[in-house]
Amino acid sequence: MDARNNGLEKFSRSVYRTIFRRNSVFMVGIFATAFAFEMAFDTATDRWWDRMNKDKQWKDIKDRYSQ
């Protein structure tokens, strides 16, 4: 094996052993990652949407019509 790949190989093997070897760990990791990914994705897309629709949504103009 190439000497420059030794570090990567070691890292890959440790990743494989900790996460991928047991299917239960793998599946739990998938669902946990999906949960985190969804939260991050939703937050990011909501923020983007609010920025694109600034001063157009009810929550932005609510103060003008406060009782």
Binding site: N5, E9, K10, Y16, F20, I30, F37, E38, F41
Partner: protein, 271 residues
Amino acid sequence: MVNLTKLAATVNRTHITAPYSANSIRKLLDGSKYVHKESQKIITPSWFVGASRRCDGSIHLKTALSAAPYIGNIQKRLSSSAAVDSSKSTIVPDFSGYKKHSGPNTSRTFTYLMVGATGTLTAAGSKAFVTDFLANLSASADVLAMAKVEVDLAKIPEGKNLTIKWRGKPIFIRHRTPDEISEANSVQLSELKDPQTDAERTKNPEWLVMLGVCTHLGCVPIGEAGDYHGWYCPCHGSHYDISGRVRKGPAPLNLEVPEYSFENETKLVIG
């Protein structure tokens, strides 16, 4: 094997008339010494076994020398005056740029990582699909806003009825007197068609809140009427008592009690 086949190719040439003595063969091999040296690089010559690209560009499959066709590298070689370097006739591209440099552990981990990433995206996507689909089925904000009705109880004096509209249906609200409450509590459950205590039908005995739709065929009963001083349905003559329980007539069930709550002493929220 290389040498033997070279030899065979050489001795098969038609213009060689010399006897196949060891001497003549050695002379032949000496004369084509550079061929051996060059062909050492190739473990199996491409013209001997396997597929190769012919000079006209087409793929040509060779299994053995004996199966050599008339056209192609072998034919050319056979017709030449000297043994020709085989590596010159077959151009093997340089594949080193396409070769993988990572080790087996890295490849395996990368593959599993791709599988896991696909699973992650699939799980997140299907969850979002299901939740969005179900959210689409649920009531929208304008419907929910219409679904609740607030009633000011301070305007209803004791012993009076109020009828309001809620979700397209009438709601009866009665401010009962202490006499009426004790009358509702004095009824034996055994004499009821749909046995229910008054406590089950009211949150605060002072206030009776129920759906003003007869459980028989959906008419609206008349208040403060009937044999039991409660409600009377004029359509088919069902009598309800002061707790809205059916006492007489074709109605099978008591008047329905909607979801409601007391926000404070004087404010009732239905829905």
